[in-house]
């Protein structure tokens, strides 16, 4: 069995199984946890509007600090757009999703994907340098952050190299790309990358709690 055979077969199966297991473990554990009882009477009947409001407000830079965090905030958006476009809109990726989900969607031209992936790498590296050089950012960063950054950049970079037929022979580069994506998939439920699934439900929940207490945040 070649490395590519492993990556396209057992590697893919193992990583998908771990992903499904890990995600459902994290979600079930979170949803079923016992929430602390709120002993204070509600100031306000929390509404869906409160929750949605928090989801929107928390998606924008905090007004008071806007001047200082604008660049970081919006480059974060750009990086996510670059990543999701590369992952979700590249024709070969869509073929894989289609084989799993049973349906696909139109792809973007490969040149657009190439630009998005390159942009995503550049921004993420820039943000990582900032993370390493800014004292506060460095203080609140853990190994989890660096592992997630490394795995994501590696998967993007090997993808670009494989697509462009650069570096190693195509089949080896493709195998390395698949394995790096599989490592990312395996890491996904156990590290901070799970925020992909948790971010909006948690903001919704925070909005509901704050609404109940009459806090506008």
């Amino acid at each position: 069995m070649t490395l590519l055979d492993f990556a396209r077969g057992p590697g893919l199966q193992i990583s998908f199984i771990i992903l499904m297991f890990g995600v459902s473990w994290r979600l079930a554990g979170t949803v079923l946890q016992r929430y602390s009882i709120d002993n204070s009477p509600g100031r306000h009947q929390s509404t869906v509007i409160d929750s949605l409001r928090t989801m929107v407000v928390r998606s924008m830079p905090v007004h008071q600090f806007e001047k200082h965090i604008k660049l970081q905030h919006y480059s974060g958006y750009l990086w996510h757009i670059g990543l999701f476009t590369s992952v979700l809109m590249f024709a070969p990726h869509i073929q894989l999703f289609k084989s799993v989900l049973g349906f696909g969607w139109p792809a973007l031209p490969n040149s657009v994907i190439l630009i998005c992936a390159s942009l995503a790498i550049a921004i993420l590296l820039g943000l990582t340098i900032r993370r390493l050089t800014h004292p506060v950012h460095r203080l609140i960063s853990t190994a989890d952050d660096y592992i997630s950054v490394f795995l994501t950049v590696f998967a993007l970079l090997t993808g670009i190299l494989a697509y462009s037929h650069l570096g190693l022979r195509y089949e080896l580069m493709l195998a390395i790309h698949l394995l790096s994506a599989e490592a990312l998939i395996i890491w996904f439920p156990f590290g901070k990358l799970i925020h992909t699934l948790m971010i909006f439900p948690s903001r919704y929940q925070i909005g509901a709690t704050y609404g109940h207490r009459g806090v506008k945040a």
């Binding site: 396209r8 077969g9 771990i18 554990g29 990726h93 073929q95 490969n110 040149s111």
Partner: protein, 356 residues
Amino acid sequence: MGDKRSLGDLLFSQGVSRRGFMKYCATLTSLMALPPAMISRVAMALEQARRPSVIWLSFQECTGCTESLTRAHAPTIESLIFDAISLDYHHTLQAAAGDAAESARLSAMQENKGSYLLVVDGSIPLGNAGFSTIAGVSNVDMLRETAKDAAAIIAVGSCAAFGGLPHAKPNPTGAVSVEEVITDKPIINIPGCPPIPIVISGVLAHYLTFGTIPELDSLKRPIVFYGQTIHDRCYRRPFYDKGQYAETFDDEGARKGWCLYKLGCKGPLTYNACATLKWNAGTSFPIGSGHGCLGCSEPNFWDKGSFYAPVSVGQWGSREALFAAAAGGAVLGLGSALAVHRRQKKAAREEKESAS
């Protein structure tokens, strides 16, 4: 057999003009990707070359490789057999049969000990000696016996090179490639199902010209023919780059000649020269005819999933396995949530007790 004249003598005695000979050498030189300055050296070497004796053994095969070679347009099989090489033994092409055929093989081996070329097509069954025999001799014994005094071995076709179709799961005959049986001789693999005729004859011509085997890749394939993927040289590549793919074999994209990636083309993973040398005297090749590349010159191409599944689609398992994994994760999540509930309740109880 036993003709000691040089190839030049032979060709000129048969009325081949010097001009025609030089033209042939020029074709050969470009075919072998040598610089034009090498034409005269190729001509000189070829002119003085002795006709090597060639023994061709066919084992578990479909005769497609011989069919492919006999349809070669340059050099033709006629020129290869009668002008260039001395094909002393070939089941399909020889007139002799039975004992006469076998004694031709044995005497060619004896007369050209250490200098004959052995060409093999077909895989070798190791499961049971009786699965495939020639004149009562098992394939593996005949290969070992004939390879012993050969100068080099050319494994023609994916069956001889990698085991091919007979080697596909579950490999009922225990089929293996030539290099799994013979380990002490130079082996050139010319895979393909079948290989491109000019590639077969080109390798023979290279040997004839230089007396050496061409530079090989890690799978023992001549780099000059197998150095690039089909995808590298495919004329549909601009459509791949633009993301324009045929979705079915008869849609608008297919009619416009768009890329066949989504229809399972294995061109990106297949090292071969089909996209440049093409087939049928350079007329076309599978992708040119609207069908994706099957990857037939790569090892185990039969066992790599559907021919019609895109390269990016791996064998990711089954939905049932994923649902089972998700259910297992949910049970674990529930278990850990319950454990936390219990701990919290206990802590609350203890707090109450200590307060009262």
